[in-house]
């Protein structure tokens, strides 16, 4: 019998350590929403529209109500009496909880059945008769603004078109001037198609309104429990202290679980109506067809340069398809998210972007799938444009990038659309990626292969991310400033608890945040409990998305821990009968300067803080502190990615042979977890570049409504990832760390696409580069991937 080698002790602070949350998951003892069983719990199911656009003439629920196991059937008409048929969206619009007048996309919620069991609830859906008057569906974003296009949002008074917003950033005049005098101008249309985060766990909730106490508890798949609670209070008029949101283990989020879905609201209404707990858990098709999609950006990019390849200007016009309701989850002042970071990593003279949002008969959403509030689209745009320019100039894409990357001495760097990049050393990261890849040898191999008729491609992307929203003065969601609280408390025996506003969906918060406290206080992470995901037991904050947990809450935890340390110093001074000014900190203890034997450990101080020790004036007992962290700026992680592909010339099938990713997210709290985050994002990039798309036919039927149609990468499509790192700390973050959760999803799609197009020698084709699309592109006729195949 073999034995496991003695594992090294966990680091008291940063470093590799196994995750504290894993023991329950590997035993099948995770606690997801669908695992909830409550006494008397009923089950809900949603009837969804079969049409993309239709007027509802009538809904007959009598047969469903007569089903022996059905307890309630809820329609939009009932919700109207409660004032809940429509609720505010996250972007100054409304969304329908249940359709009252029209259905506006296929899969929209029409009725809700509550029954004794899940199967009966589903049976009863089939007993509901809805009389629809079909209307023409508006699926093509490019046609949505045409005169005579069907008006989707006739519920908005005076609405005569499908226009949502116009928004611009940068300087139009200076950009026009730069373009007018440029040696070389390249323009390119490109689509970032509609895709879906598709976490393995779908969305769902269990709601229970206790009529005796008046307390509503919602166990919910949410990345932002506190924001949800406040929004329920604002929307439904329920008192906020009587609402408790519990976000238990979450089976992946990726942005899909930020917003409030009609199903959540319906489980609440179902519980109010029946007096019982009501569970609603969507199925996979419901998840893909109705919950937050991502992207759907139709972009026209222009890039200009000198003859020798100095990039001077960049501009883009975007048509943003937001679906039937404008429900993108992003800071209020940013209707196109952070797309205007599209100048990326390059030193240029001027830039300008215009974004127009349109309604369509598709599901609402728009900011999801690890996109960092649309930095994904921005990074794809600029990295494709740079490759198009390289093609035009006949320059190697690596050389062109190296020539134009921002230099380390330019940081902090204010870009032409207003972002202030905190820190970076871009050429070093690109060089490192090229070294790992063996770039020159790869190019040599490519030439040899081409001579033999083999198609090999090398694709590069360099990305700059902007993550960790706020600052609160610039960023809020429905008026809630994007700052997050944390509370650290050391128990009398020196163990600790840290309470967070953010909520893990697999990122390992229970480990990472314990390590932050450990680093600051010298308490073993094994002795630190991380509490999160329960609004009754955690401080307020906006939640986990946009790679903001470590940049914002990580800072809050670090500052709170330092406050604990500062308080411990005063108490240690009293214990040692020394002036606190004469004490020095060494991880885990305060000692007298010049006499290290005279010291008190944090554990001794914790006990004393709860004991009879006479505390210095102004020092309260116990050892705890809190912080609400308002980030002074975002953090700007970056990275250089290189993808190597082989394309089958006979079928168009792409094989990702290698993928090199050099990421710089500052110091890594737990390198193992950071690498895992990057691995997952790289797989996303391969999926989006090669496989994933939610397309529609002309009647508005969703063509990506199951995992048989919406293809996700498996272990076969994904290569062995080759990672590297550089470390450039953030100057403003207390720990120097930057976010990382979305970096690879943001940066990798362009590398894969650039590689495939490099292989087949074509300037552009839209994702996903399926065998059919690659084949058609090789024949000179790539198709529009957002519509049914022409």
């Amino acid at each position: 019998m073999t034995t496991v080698e003695e594992a090294p002790a966990n680091p008291i602070g940063f470093g590799r350590m196994k995750r504290k949350e894993d023991p329950r998951f590997i035993r099948g003892k995770g606690n997801y929403v669908d695992d909830m069983q409550l006494p008397g719990m009923l089950h809900g199911a949603v009837l969804r529209s079969t049409y993309a656009h239709a007027r509802i003439r009538s809904i007959d629920t009598s047969a469903a109500e007569a089903h022996p196991k059905v307890k309630a059937v809820i329609t939009g008409a009932l919700l109207e009496t409660l004032g809940l048929a429509w609720i505010p969206s996250l972007s100054h619009d409304v969304i329908a909880v249940l359709a009252t007048d029209k259905v506006r996309y296929q899969g929209q919620e029409v009725a809700f059945v509550v029954a004794e069991d899940h199967y009966s609830a589903r049976d009863a859906l089939e007993l509901i008769e809805v009389d629809y008057e079909p209307l023409p569906a508006m699926i093509d974003a490019k046609a949505a603004l045409d005169a005579g296009a069907p008006i989707i949002r006739d519920d908005i008074e005076g609405k005569t078109d499908n226009h949502i917003f116009d928004w611009e950033a940068g300087d139009r005049a200076s950009t026009e001037a730069v373009f007018a005098s440029a040696d070389v101008v390249v323009e390119q249309d490109m689509l970032y198609p509609r895709v879906h985060p598709a976490p393995m766990e779908t969305c769902g909730s269990v709601a229970y309104m206790d009529k005796v106490t008046g307390k509503l508890t919602i166990w919910c798949t949410t990345q932002a429990p506190h924001a949800h609670r406040t929004l329920y209070a604002l929307v439904a008029g329920l008192p906020e202290h009587k609402i408790r949101i519990v976000s238990p283990d979450i089976g992946g989020g990726f942005g899909n679980k930020v917003g409030i879905y009609p199903g959540y609201v319906l489980s609440v209404v179902g519980s109010i109506v029946t007096g019982k707990p009501v569970k609603w858990m969507e199925d996979r098709s419901e998840n893909l067809m109705s919950t937050s999609f991502a992207r759907d950006y139709h972009m026209h990019g222009e890039i200009c340069s000198t003859r020798d390849g100095k990039i001077t200007g960049l501009r883009v016009k975007v048509l943003a398809d937001h679906g039937a309701f404008n429900n993108t989850a992003q800071p209020t002042k940013f209707p196109a998210g952070f797309f205007h970071i599209f100048t990326g990593s390059y030193d240029l003279q001027a830039a300008h972007c215009e974004v127009t949002g349109v309604y369509s008969n598709k599901a609402p959403g728009g900011v999801a799938y690890a996109c960092s509030f649309r930095v994904t689209e921005a990074a794809y745009l600029v990295e494709r444009m740079v490759d198009c320019l390289a093609d035009e100039l006949g320059m190697d894409p690596a050389e062109l990038r190296m020539k134009n990357l921002l230099k380390p001495e330019q940081f902090p760097y204010t870009c032409h659309t207003g972002w202030v990049y905190d820190s970076g050393d871009y050429p070093r990261a690109l060089q490192k990626a090229m070294d790992i890849a063996g770039y020159a040898d790869l190019r040599k191999e490519q030439v040899e292969k081409r001579a033999r008729g083999e198609l090999m491609g090398i694709g590069i992307s360099f990305f700059t991310e902007t993550v960790g929203a706020g600052p609160r003065k610039h960023m809020d969601i429905l008026g809630l400033g994007m700052a997050d609280g944390a509370e650290v408390r050391v128990h009398p025996t020196g163990k600790a608890v840290v309470r967070l506003s953010v909520q893990t969906q697999g990122q390992g918060h229970e480990t990472t945040f314990a390590q932050i406290v450990a680093e600051e206080l010298g308490i073993s992470p094994d002795d630190i409990d991380v509490v999160h995901g329960d609004t009754d037991n955690t401080p307020f904050g906006l939640g986990t998305y946009g790679s903001r947990s470590t940049p914002v809450s990580g800072a809050a935890v670090a500052v709170a821990s330092r406050r604990v340390r500062d308080k411990a110093r005063l108490i240690a001074g009293a214990m040692l009968e020394a002036s606190p000014d004469d004490l020095e900190w060494e991880k885990g203890r305060w000692f007298v300067k010049g006499d290290p034997a005279q010291s008190k450990t944090i554990q001794e101080i914790a006990l004393a803080s709860h004991g009879p020790l006479e505390l210095p004036e102004g020092v309260e007992g116990h050892l705890d502190a809190s912080c609400v962290y308002d980030p002074p700026n975002l953090t700007y992680p970056f990275g250089a990615y290189i993808c190597v592909v082989d394309v089958d010339p006979g079928t168009g099938q792409v094989k990702v042979r290698r993928f090199i990713a050099v990421d710089d997210c500052g110091p890594r709290i737990n390198p193992m977890i950071v690498e895992g985050q990057i691995h997952g994002g790289l797989a996303d990039g391969v999926g989006m570049a090669l496989m994933e798309v939610i397309a529609f036919d002309e009647e508005g039927n969703c063509l990506g409504g199951s995992f048989m149609d919406y293809l996700l990468p498996t272990s076969i499509e994904c290569p062995k990832w080759e990672l590297g790192e550089t470390v450039t700390p953030s100057p403003h973050h207390p720990l120097g760390v930057k976010g990382v959760g979305e970096s690879a999803t943001v940066g990798s799609p362009a590398a894969v696409v650039n590689a495939v197009l490099d292989a087949i020698g074509v300037r552009h084709a839209d994702m996903p580069l399926t065998p059919a699309q690659v084949w058609r592109t090789m024949q000179g006729s790539p198709f529009r991937t957002d519509l049914a195949i022409q």
Partner: protein, 159 residues
């Protein structure tokens, strides 16, 4: 109808609807919620468990079809208080993040190692290719299974 089967070594008998899926039987009737449900179409593999020592996607197996069979779920991987090496491997190599696909992955991994104790990377990737993970990009799952192959009789948890 009545079904009787052995689940993780214990015989269970329940009255069920003929249409009841095996995944719902183990989750809702037996309370074994480690087996997950993810897609309905046999694509995602979060529902993988063993029926007569073979991995099956329990979202497309009726409970009735399991009558008289031997079912093993993730809750049955740990035996006599000792974790299966596959379970330890997933912790050692960070083979899981959100944990939702993990039970199905581990059941397939155990089956693979029972039939091929020393699989190479390609064989591991092929074995798990009918299961989707959205978090890990698969690399650490492959490493976790390799870890289990290299530590075949591990008993200790080092976490």
């Amino acid at each position: 109808m009545q079904v009787t089967m052995t689940v993780n070594g214990d015989e269970v008998t329940r009255e069920v609807e003929p249409r009841l899926l095996l995944v719902h039987f183990v989750r809702d009737h037996l309370g074994l919620t480690g087996t997950h449900w993810g897609c309905d179409t046999s694509n995602c593999g979060t529902c993988v468990l063993w029926m007569d020592s073979e991995p099956v996607k329990s979202c497309t197996v009726l409970a009735a079809m399991a009558h008289g069979r031997d079912i093993r779920t993730v809750e049955g991987l740990e035996r006599n208080g000792e974790l299966d090496p596959v379970q330890v491997g997933f912790m050692e190599e960070h083979g899981l993040q959100c944990g939702f696909c993990t039970p199905g992955m581990m059941m397939t991994a155990r089956w693979l190692l029972d039939h091929n104790p020393d699989p190479d990377e390609g064989e591991i990737r092929e074995a798990i290719c009918g299961q989707i993970c959205r978090c890990t990009g698969y690399e650490n799952i492959v490493k976790a299974i390799r870890w289990a192959a290299e530590h075949p009789a591990t008993a200790e948890v080092t976490a």
